[in-house]
Symmetry: C2
């Protein structure tokens, strides 16, 4: 990939941002309905969306599922420490393949990684930490925090329309 700023040539204007704000909240609206809400024709909306998909600003379209309906009643954040540096590449390569790991972020701080993990039960969590993380992936230490309730859990990104104040 090129050096520097990856979106230097993307030039999203206020109408693009308005479209993004709408489609990340409800991708099911027709292009006509989007156009009506922001004062644009159907074709213009279509063009802009196509361009943003091509530019990878829009990476894809997904269904938003209810974890509880799928039996995923437990959400936890697992901090991960790996003592020996030579074990980190293997961990980094394999951790993303676990479906119960929704997120894995490399951290600046006391821990190497933080994982967002969704499982049905505490038994499944224990199995994941003991067997997968510690045994297979050679994680030295973990610190797990159980989520009691999610007040907000949205993939929606903050979109600043021309720096408008709150």
């Amino acid at each position: 990939m090129g050096a520097g700023v990856p979106n230097a040539d993307q030039r999203l204007d206020a109408r693009d941002l308005a479209i993004l704000e709408l489609v990340q909240r409800n991708a099911d609206w027709s292009h006509g309905e989007i156009g009506r809400q922001i004062g644009l024709s159907v074709s213009a909306v279509n063009d802009r969306i196509r361009r943003m998909v091509a530019a990878k600003v829009i990476r894809g379209w997904t269904a938003d599922l209810d974890p509880g309906a799928l039996g995923l009643h437990l959400l936890a954040f697992v901090n991960v420490l790996i003592d020996r540096a030579e074990l980190i590449p293997a961990f980094a390569e394999r951790i993303a393949a676990y479906p119960e790991v929704q997120e894995c972020h490399h951290l600046a701080g006391d821990w190497n990684y933080i994982l967002k993990v969704r499982v049905p039960t505490t038994a499944a969590l224990e199995n994941f930490i003991s067997c997968e993380l510690k045994e297979k992936l050679k994680v030295s230490r973990t610190a797990t925090t159980i989520v009691l309730r999610s007040l907000k859990d949205s993939p929606a990104l903050p979109i600043m329309n021309g720096g408008a104040a709150r």
Copy 2:
């Protein structure tokens, strides 16, 4: 099953789960293409998706956007402590309204909440923590961890197809 199980009557079979796995990865496939992949007719796929939307198993449809393309170059997890219990309801009521807060989870452990926060710069993060969290929302203490790199950051949920092994 005992009372209190919210999805006791939903009865998702293996075909429903297969559909969910597909649409959460790519909601753009036509019902015909989904049916071809799992061996079902267009109408059957349509019926099942309609039923799962009505049952709120599918909560909606969203566009997956690239944070970097929107200038959101900083991701951080902010742990929040609120000393005085009477300040917690106001926090809980107002925190979800912040667009830079992607997630807010009530925790079991040393901290009250963990926030997943996306902002353009460290300056914006400092402003959010100092002005919004500490000043306006009366948060007592925070511990912020900066994300250096996200190895995985997906809203996709783990869907267990009849206990299939990894």
